[in-house]
Amino acid sequence: MTDSEYVEGFLNNDERIIGDFYRKYQGKFKGYFRNHFSKSPEALDDLFQDSCVTVWQNVRLAKYSPSQGSSLETYLFAVGKYRMMAADRKYKEMATDLDLQNMDLVDSSAESVEQRLDTIEKIVRDFPSPCSDILIMHYWKEYSGEQIAEQMGFANTDTVKTKKYKCMQRLKNKILEMFA
């Protein structure tokens, strides 16, 4: 499958193409990071999944396109290195990696921004159901109010709006507490 086909698949959330992308690069990606950074199998699983998700999202947000000059594979590896650097300060020297700079994945003057985003990521990951489910249905699945009400057993769409607002506020307050 070509990069353009993968990009199309990401834009359409095509499960078959996304699965193919995952399986195609899994061995090589994990092999590279295992050999260069001695990470455990569990850490490699997480790193690879997170990197695939980032690539998928960045394609959808038009932060990556094939016309930028780098292949999807190169981009995937660059994202992996960036995540390594963000997660572990001892890999900070990767900030000089040309791949990361050319793809706008690192700005050494914005360390505090990266740390903030990392904190937000952790809090969102740990945010429990049912609030997490409501927010995912709205912001990722893009379900309508009626669909969310049906899934969650709410009385009507007004209840959905209220719950969604309160869940989002709870999440933001948790984040702001960490930054205070």
Partner: protein, 234 residues
């Protein structure tokens, strides 16, 4: 006011969130968009709130994507459908007549075997005594010395079993737990090397059995095994 209703302040905040989301998704009218952009440029607090909202939205999207990705790539149980025994019989017949199917599979498997060997990490974790054994297995398969590799695999399997048996008598729980994990990971890796050896040496039937066994297990290499097995089925 009912518990599910918003206060006036909350309603105002909700309106602001709606504005943020309309701007982010580029669904605002042009004049409204320009006006909002000017507000973001001149009001640092508003900009901060907007950036926080966007960061949180995108993190939520990633959480949803991660859940979906895990479902997409979760290993499926591959069962040996009863019809396959007839397929297997037909394949044997084909092999007797021409055998080109098996020869093709052998070449394909050999390619997969070589590819997987490149990606595998030779070193075991935390200075285990198995590193030397794995290095020997890895280099033997790389050099196509399958006899030496098979001997080394068999010997390491025996060593792992003996060490696992000895570990049962370990009294320190932390050490016992660590050892158990090490044996499991080493066994997963050894099974994978065995599979690679079969693929590389074109022992296709054995390779298929091992691929199916690993794909249906909790092995570290189940995803790789499942992928190759599904590719070869058709």
């Amino acid at each position: 006011m009912e518990m599910n209703e918003l206060t006036q302040e909350e309603l105002n905040n909700q309106k602001q969130t709606d504005l943020f989301e309309a701007y982010y998704s580029k669904t605002m009218e042009e004049t409204e968009r320009l006006d909002f952009e000017q507000q973001l440029q001149s009001d640092a607090e508003l900009l901060k709130q907007y950036e926080l909202h966007v960061s949180v939205m995108e993190a939520i999207q990633r959480k949803g994507m991660r859940k979906d990705l895990q479902k997409i790539v979760a290993p499926k149980v591959i069962s040996f459908h009863p019809i396959m025994k007839y397929v297997a019989a037909a394949s044997v017949l084909l092999f007797v007549i021409g055998g080109t199917g098996f020869i093709r599979d052998g070449v394909v498997m050999q390619n997969y075997g070589v590819e997987q060997l490149v990606g595998i990490d030779v070193s075991a974790s935390r200075g285990s005594s198995y590193e030397t054994d794995f290095s020997l297995i890895h280099s033997s398969i790389s050099n196509k010395d399958f006899a030496t590799a098979q001997t080394a695999i068999t010997e390491l399997r025996t060593k792992l079993q003996n060490d696992a048996d000895a570990n049962k008598a370990e009294t320190n729980e932390e050490i016992k737990h660590y050892n158990t994990q090490l044996f499991q990971q080493s066994t997963d890796k050894l099974d994978w090397y065995q599979t690679i050896l079969y693929m590389d040496s074109k022992q296709t039937l054995k390779a298929r059995r091992w691929l199916r066994k690993i794909a249906n297990s909790e092995s570290l290499y189940r995803n790789e095994a499942e992928y190759i097995y599904e590719e070869l089925l058709w």
